[in-house]
Symmetry: C4
Subunit: 238 residues, 4 copies
């Protein structure tokens, strides 16, 4: 049985997601975004080891949930593809994953603070982000999610949240579609920036869980509005 090729529109959309995340400052030379295979829930699409701002269609590879490459390629894989595989395994509802070192989010992970929804754009943060401390079960590492075991740990720390902070490393955001994953990664960064600033002014009135849920439903129904803006700024992708 051969795995069917993914929809070429999905591949192109994944390339666009890479470019948008770079243009929006969520990723720099590092970070990656994946999407679940449209014809097999047990596979996902992810670029080869390349800076997201340079990814093109020929770079998109297919992996199974163990992080094994489907087919052959001379292109190198990202060390941390296990982030994606194990989250897709643990969370059938998740269709796309963004891992980044999004700068305003890092300070929360290293001080053990939660990201919480400060405005309706980040309703997806619900009752807050979760935290993954790799040192707890693994001692001193290079902090990378470089095998299935670490991937499972991370997926467990994510739990039913939409965003998990990774101490000393970065964060990972998940969503039920690629556009929403990009949206959430952009607004997790924005929320972090706002939370940092507002903290200095006084105690913050965050969204209640019910407000967060309602705002998420409304706002993410509008996700094509920023997507149109972001993708037009990129133009056609190879």
């Amino acid at each position: 049985m051969t795995l069917p090729a993914p929809d070429s529109a999905l591949v192109e959309k994944l390339v666009m997601a890479n470019r948008i995340l770079y243009a929006q400052g969520v990723v720099d030379g590092f970070g990656h975004v994946s999407v679940r295979h449209d014809k097999s829930p047990d596979h996902f699409l992810l670029s080869c080891n390349r800076a997201p701002g340079l990814v093109k269609k020929a770079d998109i590879l297919t992996y199974d949930l163990n992080g094994d490459l489907v087919g052959e390629s001379t292109l190198r894989s990202y060390l941390e593809r296990f982030i994606h595989g194990e989250i897709y395994r643990a969370r059938p509802d998740v269709m796309a994953v963004v891992h980044s070192h999004s700068p305003s989010v890092i300070p929360f992970g290293v001080t053990g603070q939660r990201l919480r929804p400060i405005f309706h754009m980040s309703g997806f943060l619900g009752s807050g982000s979760s935290l993954y401390e790799i040192r707890e079960s693994n001692g001193n590492t290079d902090l990378l999610i470089r095998d299935m075991g670490l991937g499972k740990d991370l997926a467990k720390a994510l739990g039913q949240h939409t965003c998990v902070l990774m101490r000393g490393h970065g964060s990972t955001v998940v969503a039920p579609s690629l556009e929403r994953a990009v949206y959430r990664a952009v607004y997790a960064e924005e929320n972090a920036k706002l939370q940092l600033t507002a903290n200095a002014l006084g105690p913050i009135e965050f969204l209640t869980p019910e407000e967060a849920d309602k705002a998420m439903n409304t706002n993410e129904g509008q996700v094509m509005r920023p997507w149109e803006l972001w993708s037009r700024a990129i133009g056609a992708v190879e």
Copy 2:
């Protein structure tokens, strides 16, 4: 009786206002700006549901103060057009309205602090911004001004101010002309940035109400100077 078409120069200026607000970082994929109809005080012009940075002349629609579309269109409307309609109804002096999630302003709304005029460029802030807490009369919502009742609440919170902060959402700025509304939205953001920074240095000597009033009159008489700069950077609009 048919409503006359708005002046085409006003439509073009509204497109320009959309583009400037995006270029100046006041709006991102979200936010909107309207202007009162030049031939009917009971109508206003507003783009269809599109990111302000992409708005073109064909996107500009006409609404009555209830937020009902005049004429027919296949284009979708912004959910929050009631912000505009109810403010135009409550404030005959207002000729243009900007609603945004302008980032430096958000922290003031969620901590219950007032924006106050820190320099002569923001004299329009007078004795400070007002605050709208949607939860007070409406419980847990998605925070959007999605009907006339919420619009009226917001207009009431705005009162005679030029700027109302919306907790967990954003802010709305009003002015007696489109150019001045854009100017005020840009400098409300700038004032917020300065106020946040100065706060960390020590107690701030704000403009007195009399200074604010005088500065507003002088500075907003110069509004074509930044408008020339901002619009030339955009170039011609479709």
Copy 3:
């Protein structure tokens, strides 16, 4: 007796100074830069009332120290040309003046803090900036230096400093050449940014007055290095 025309290379350099200050974020739609007339110490060159980022050679006008226009022009003058005239009158050593609302400097003026030299690039700050409180002798105004009397007050507050903060308004920087005035305006803003950030970390070890003086002499001897960079990024000016 007719005033000779200024050197056309000086006029061009003044246009470039306007463009650089805009590109470097020292001025926005507001602010202005002048240079003393090369053939008459009692006159100075200043653009007409236009955003610095748009200034071209034909906009450069000549004023006497009272702020009166030499010759005729249909172009409007800046309201605050008296800043320049009165400083040139009080300080024969000053050959160029930059007035701006440079954003990181504002918080110092409104909290009564001094800018002090945090690194060798801003040795010109010496023992610190001075402060001008317009309200002291003039009560509630629109904060603008709109006549000779206010200009004289400001020049007095500047004294022998290189930088005077204007509460609720902005700041003014002076120098013995146009290139150095631009350099100082850029690095006053940079110094302010650094001082704000370092303040949050702990007590700052500033340059001693002797270090400041030595650093100023060395660094400003290198002013053509950044000028080459800044002016090449602008290209040819009209």
Copy 4:
């Protein structure tokens, strides 16, 4: 005995390093980057006195470790070439040196705080940066490393670290290759920014020395990924 010419690919890479450091905001009109000569460990390559963003191949000069120019040139030398010479002399493992006024790093030097590795990207910071206080042995100076004696002092303060802060001046970063020196300079700045922000949130959990070491080894093995991104954004260099 004549010194052989350096590899032309190395010269080109050094030009690219200059341009990248400017594009990434590590250097402005000031700062410089050098690489050890590929055919003589007792020499290094460094641009003439020019803003790094403008450096081209013909600007690259060769110096011996005393900071004396090899051959003749009409081009002026950087005053601070002794930073490079003395570090290459003291540290045979160092193949490239970046000296900058990287803005987020300055506040640490002037408040006597250490840069410490906040995330895996900056594992090279190990147990933290060292500090050079020029005033200690030299009294009041212009803060520049303008001779061999000052260069030796600085090299001593650097010791076996990868990053030395220079109070009231800037910082210097070293690495075993040019790409890694650029990488470290970029991420020293990024680390400083993150550390400043996280400080405001609460006590920071830094990388342990063992985590830092492991992370450095992994991440710097990936240095060609951001290098590809950064250099493609520059394009061909003259």
